[in-house]
Symmetry: C2
């Protein structure tokens, strides 16, 4: 098991986010810290209301308004990305430098699963070059039935 090297550069996304926010002139605040701490532990996208519920359960709650405001700030700094996976509700997930992934949505139960594929990324890069726009990002959403709902 590799020990974390005691470098001055933060490894956790939460630390990275805190640093970027501080550099950008934001102060520390309860709601912001709570949202960041929660997002840091997720491996996939959450909606604002899911965030609210989970924070309440941890007795670390924040108002819905603050949650939306924090998410907007984080998106503006490129620290989280906002996705619309099809039900008219926005979902948010951390942007970590490394692997970036896409989403598989079960049309029956609504469950969302991340997946990644290099060949797909390559194809997207290739087509992006071909187009007149200056492409800065992309989303791929696959729809279908998950193993459970197929039965």
């Amino acid at each position: 098991v590799p020990r974390s090297t005691a470098s001055s550069r933060p490894e956790r996304w939460a630390d990275h986010a805190a640093q970027r926010l501080s550099e950008a002139g934001y102060r520390r605040g309860g709601a912001r810290g709570a949202v960041i701490g929660l997002l840091d532990k997720q491996e996939c996208a959450l909606s604002a209301i899911e965030i609210e519920d989970r924070l309440r359960r941890r007795r670390n709650q924040a108002s819905r308004a603050s949650i939306y405001r924090v998410l907007e700030e984080l998106e503006g700094l490129g620290l989280v990305s906002r996705l619309e996976l099809g039900a008219g509700i926005a979902r948010f997930e951390t942007v970590r430098g490394e692997a970036h992934h896409h989403h598989l949505v079960c049309d029956d139960c609504g469950d969302i699963v991340p997946f990644a594929d290099d060949e797909l990324e390559q194809a997207i890069r290739r087509v992006s070059r071909r187009l007149p726009h200056e492409i800065s990002g992309h989303d791929v959403t696959l729809h279908g039935l998950c193993a459970g709902c197929r039965a």
Copy 2:
């Protein structure tokens, strides 16, 4: 210029849709006909409200409620697909057998442009096979700046 062959099979999407609706036991109605007629002439996705506005301009208007109801029926029959391109609003476009396309959204002006790419489709097919879900559809959205907004 190839003349259309006078076959018994309808060529226009609107005719195809009308036939499918009739087979499914739906009656004919003003709002439904208006929405179908409008969608048939589009090459890319429209929101419910854009549909409402365009129908009003043509003096062929339908209530917003009916528009949503018609779109829901059409989606249920697989005649239109519903997309969420990122602004929290749903867009709808005809599903025509042949070429299927994806969307390029300008982050500045919000303009939406369709594009198609075979290699991308192949990559999606390939990754779909690899996953545990039974994939029935997919969306790809590219974000960036269009030629106009880049200036």
